[in-house]
Symmetry: C3
Subunit: 300 residues, 3 copies
């Protein structure tokens, strides 16, 4: 697990919120792409960029020339950035965004020709599935911030995040069927996010839905005008980052576990989760602070 090399500092970019304000460079381990500096960093071997400030980690799909295709390299880079010091109490929330007009176009088709062969194909889909499941099993909330087109495994990535905020110009599609490759793995995440009729029309026709439709049907939690996308995403991220990390971790794990259980089992599990939560130092601190009408001071 090469997670230690997972995060790199972001050099100053042409636009966007990442370079506004004093984003401190991370540890050397994070800065594997070379020194941050004025101007666009030279393209390196790793196609994601990550940095972290105030508990908020930003991971940016950063291969716009290839429409941020989820190549095996991109998937491993993303996985590494998500896993990097996942247990650190300094990490509170992760935002996944993308550079350029396409959030992500999904798998890199050059990796799926028969020259590569079924074993390589299997590795691609297995790695992709692991990244998507990692998002759910990760201890901190993970937010997708989408500004543009997200297709196929790119749409799957949005559907797999805990929260998804998009600009109103964004759109979403699973167009694999157009090139004879049905979006079966994206359908796992899509089919758990939107009603099945919406999912099937997308899967069978390959046609996109708008951000508003995606919100209507549950693929997004929020849609905002493009100029407010970063502000709104950061507002949510800061709110999440202000919470107790152990409490969020406990709650997130319980949420996904109970979701597929029968009602009695789900209540049995979560009632125990509530008791465990109250046994955490932050559980008692929060209630005491509330009753004493003061701000809680979390243990981390």
């Amino acid at each position: 697990m090469a997670a230690a090399a997972g995060l790199r500092a972001l050099g100053a970019k042409g636009s966007g919120w990442l370079q506004r304000g004093p984003w401190a460079p991370l540890t050397t381990g994070f800065c594997s792409r070379g020194p941050a500096g004025i101007g666009r960093p030279e393209p390196g071997p790793r196609p994601t960029i990550a940095r972290q400030r105030d508990g908020i980690r930003n991971i940016i799909l950063s291969d716009p020339k290839r429409r941020n295709a989820l190549s095996l390299a991109m998937l491993k880079s993303l996985q590494s950035d998500i896993l990097h010091e996942a247990e650190s109490q300094d990490l509170k929330v992760i935002i996944i965004s993308a550079e350029g007009p396409v959030f992500s176009s999904g798998h890199d088709l050059k990796e799926l020709t028969d020259e590569q062969g079924p074993e390589y194909h299997a590795e691609v889909f297995q790695t992709c599935s692991e990244v998507m499941m990692l998002i759910q099993s990760h201890p901190v909330p993970i937010i997708a911030m989408v500004n543009g087109l997200a297709t196929a495994a790119g749409c799957q990535l949005v559907a797999s995040c805990d929260i998804a905020v998009a600009s109103d110009k964004s759109s979403f599609a699973t167009p694999g069927v157009n090139i004879g490759l049905f979006c079966s793995t994206p359908a796992v995440a899509l089919g758990r996010a939107v009603p099945r009729k919406v999912a099937l029309e997308m899967l069978f026709t390959g046609e996109p839905i708008s951000a508003q439709e995606a919100l209507l049907h549950g693929l997004l939690s929020r849609v905002v005008p493009e100029e407010r996308l970063e502000e709104e995403t950061m507002r949510i991220a800061r709110k999440v980052a202000s919470q107790s990390r152990p409490v969020l971790a406990l709650g997130k794990a319980a949420f996904y576990r109970q979701l597929t259980q029968d009602l009695r089992t789900a209540y049995h599990l979560t009632s125990q989760t509530m008791v465990d939560n109250l046994g955490l130092p932050d559980g008692q601190e929060g209630i005491k602070a509330f009753l004493q009408k003061r701000k809680p001071i979390w243990s981390h």
Copy 2:
């Protein structure tokens, strides 16, 4: 089972539909809170009020000074009012509403401090879970009528009802995370009512959603202007109360049972339910009445 003491007559209240028209007092057993009279009744030991007319039982969370907190006493009172003569053919539908600007603020935090200890905490969550499951297993439809803020276990109560009608000024939140207590048990009901991204944004940020958003995402079945809330809820309740009680009971039980089954098992179960339904006296009476173009006369 203290159900016999579960329902009390409502004294005349300052406003609201309950005192409009000739609501007959219920049996003595229901009137444990003291005589109904002019003016607000004195606060008694039980924090819910219930009365019944024309097959419609109204249960009112009636502790507005404590924002209708679901204390253990409130939960037991609610449970008792729901269970009271549940098998009586005179009961057709239950409405749960609340007094004051807050529908319910969820658990009483004073019951969750470490002075009480984990055993007491466990009793609180277990009782709460039993009430929520009771709503689903109860033979008659249960409607939430919401006019105001419903948070945490209060939001869970709305999500657990079969039908939920709210005024457009209502809002819904699971803010436990703000005080270090993730709303894990409310998440069971919430996660089965709204898309997971909506649920997780609510759970991770603690921020409220409006009634319109709640309708959009499936937490409510209907939103109306405040001045039409009682009228619309009563219209639905009367429609439900006009149906055959044994038919509703059979159908409600089958609905929840099939919902988590695989498709083939679900159709096997419900096909048998249909045959059983036709074997009920009301099943044949309804069809005969329809074919004879007359109103059915139900057996109860």
Copy 3:
């Protein structure tokens, strides 16, 4: 299996898109209702009409005088038309529509009186359930095109299709409860399409929802003005028909199978589906065509 007699040619009808353009008559086996000709065909023993062109099969519920009731004869006729040459590579997509102002009123109540008895009732519900499950297990996508009222098992039929397009004047209800027969089998499909509160209000009150509400809640994938219904449905059908049939069949089967699995199992299944898909001739042809910037030529 009387599928060979399942499809009949449509005679020229008074209105509608089916007779526009050169719809070739199908094989003799399809034309069991008599010769196509000017004017309305004489009512025959089979209450559905079907014909096929350019890979698109149209099945029309064609008993408007009885509000297209899903009698046992109608269900068997529909089943036969769906199953007819289901494995033929010439069939790409099926549209189910209806003649007259009512899409379908559900079961024929004359078949559900106690004169028929529980064995006959069981056959009706079992056949109906088989048709609904057949829609999901069928290798090609099946689209409901709704222009009018769809109630009870008629609403179930819409909910069971893969895609559902409706005119804005359409409406949907499960009113069985009004005649003492709770829509328990329709609830299987309805409860998997819309949020449970919406489903339960429909089931408990019997009241209809509009096409817009049905879209909002996931029962439909698309709503259009009545005058654009055929055009929009045909646009979707043609798009689906332009895809590779084996790819669609693989993807459709995987979609429904993974939907009820836990996440890990679902990704394991669908990752294998992706690899299998790439192993299909059309899988490699599609990717090659894309990389070579040309239109793919499917094997069928």
